[in-house]
Symmetry: C2
Subunit: 342 residues, 2 copies
């Protein structure tokens, strides 16, 4: 103990100079003689002086801290995004304060309020499920009005004017569906546990477009939107009633459930049924068979969001931008049919 943090004031009194001399010396000001600077800097080093960040923040009105509000952290995608944000933040000398909304509107609002009280310079957010359902985004508008810029990613809304980083879910779902069609699937089902999310809708729409374009008609019964608990049951029913040869699972839960169910019902993947889904590489690579996925590039999204925010912080004037991150398909075994043995 005893080594307590030292302050400018204390340094000044030890050296018998004024506080401002110390402060200026530490920032290497031209006003101070080299000799004095040296003395001060030496002592500062000796006592391991570090300016109190809180005081600096208060003085400067800046915190060099970014608030991040995520719906969940036990989720591969959001974790990746957070990782991307952290990479950029730490590189640009920003700290990040992470809050979790747990998909709850109230939690999200309170997170935003706690952060928008001077703790942070700006926010990166993916909107909570409940807020999207509710359609209430006033807390974001407020934060922006109060001078804390917001960057939204993935879960965004047109109702708030701010920077956004998204993937083109509509188009990517289209491409994913086309991938199944290209390998000769004729009866493609879609499974989803995220129908209440904007991104969920977009993916379904992209799917529909691809189906219509290729087949001219769409069987609504092949679209299962449900929750994780019921998915296995509903998919089992579908498999029993319809001849399915391809499945597009538009989120991680439904991807895992689909693989499990299809196998347990005695179908071979990909020979009987091909499947493309959403999942992180680690999971996709360790399923049997390995799962072809739409790679969302979470890290890229996080990096882009952080860069966007820091840019805005540095020069607040520009127009709001919507950045679209390219996505690609990581083909694995689940869509690699063996040569048909007739």
């Amino acid at each position: 103990m005893g080594k307590r943090k030292i302050t400018v004031k204390e340094l000044a009194s030890i050296l018998g100079v004024s506080i401002s001399t110390v402060s200026k010396s530490l920032s290497d000001s031209y006003e101070i003689s080299d000799k004095t600077k040296a003395r001060v800097q030496k002592l500062a080093k000796k006592y391991n002086y570090k300016p109190n960040r809180i005081a600096v923040n208060l003085k400067s009105g800046k915190t060099r801290t970014i608030g991040v509000v995520l719906p969940s952290i036990l989720n591969n995608f959001f974790t990746k995004v957070l990782y991307g944000i952290e990479r950029i933040a730490s590189q640009e000398n920003y700290n990040i304060i992470t809050c979790i909304s747990y998909e709850s509107y109230d939690k999200e609002v309170s997170n935003m309020q706690i952060l928008s009280n001077g703790s942070i310079d700006g926010l990166i957010v993916a909107i909570a499920e409940e807020s999207q359902i509710k359609g209430d985004f006033d807390h974001f508008k407020e934060s922006i009005e109060e001078g804390n810029p917001v960057v939204m990613f993935d879960r965004v809304t047109d109702l708030v004017d701010c920077d956004k980083v998204v993937v083109d879910d509509y188009n990517n779902a289209f491409i994913a569906t086309k991938h199944l069609i290209d390998i000769d699937c004729k009866n493609i089902a879609l499974v989803s546990t995220i129908d209440f999310l904007g991104v969920g809708q977009l993916r379904v729409d992209g799917f529909k477009k691809a189906i219509m374009e290729s087949f001219g008609e769409l069987d609504q019964d092949l679209i299962i939107t449900t929750n994780t608990e019921n998915l296995e049951y509903e998919l089992t029913q579908l498999l029993a009633n319809k001849k399915i040869d391809g499945v597009f699972a538009i989120d991680e839960d439904s991807s895992l459930a689909a693989v499990k169910t299809i196998k347990s019902q005695g179908y071979h993947i990909p020979n009987d049924i091909s499947i493309i889904g959403y999942a992180g590489a680690k999971i996709a690579n360790n399923l049997t068979p390995t799962l072809t996925t739409v790679n969302q590039h979470g890290i890229t999204i996080g990096k882009s969001a952080a860069k966007t925010l820091i840019n805005r912080l540095n020069n607040g004037d520009k127009e709001y931008k919507k950045k679209i991150i390219e996505v690609d398909i990581d083909q694995r075994e689940s869509t690699m049919k063996r040569k048909k043995i007739l």
Copy 2:
């Protein structure tokens, strides 16, 4: 715009009262008349006044913020711990600032320094790989000396005096190995990609003890400590040269690699070779076969670490404690042998 954050001073001038009257009214002080309080509070609400946290922090010398330094965030275990920390923190009205050391000593030191400058009240840390190898823990001691209590979890060291939250890796590895022995495995291999970590060593030791206790001798060749890239190759060699009927994989990477390799070499799990490993439930449940795991209860660890830190923050006097979290085995298919068909 224009709705800029409002301050006590501004409220005071609008109402024509003094700053301290406003401040006291807002904290519902007994010194102020109900009438005045009401006026102030009404106006504060109208302007959506929120005390500037930075100013409050500076004044109080507390930040109600916990720093968390993790070696990685793209890791199921650490993510779970972070989740646990967040749960408690948010419940106790603390924020968390998350930094990632990327297993690097330098990054860890700089993270600690950035945080130990007044930004936080205390720290929760799992030591980076490189620091463990290097054996240099001065940055932790310094932080503690400067008045920022540290709680270490999982990756801890006896060389720093502070609160710790760990699992009994030695004993748990012992139990895991016994689990294999109980289902009649006679030739058990251990695979590891974390031999440089303290926890890695402990798990190996626990394994050895169980083997010695049951068989009286230990074949060192059955212990593979390597890195993720080489594991498949080395395990393949081992399977070719020795008769193995059980595998204990002591980390997630080696668990996944072991399952993959054993299957690809044509062995049946669990009938030919049983396997127990470390992995999150989501992965374990979706492997084929599902993987029996040592459940480390990351969330519990995180919660415990956060509670420990907050406790210390509230009453700094007590002795340092080491809390040991109970671990259990989640048995799944990879250790459920079918009846032998002779």
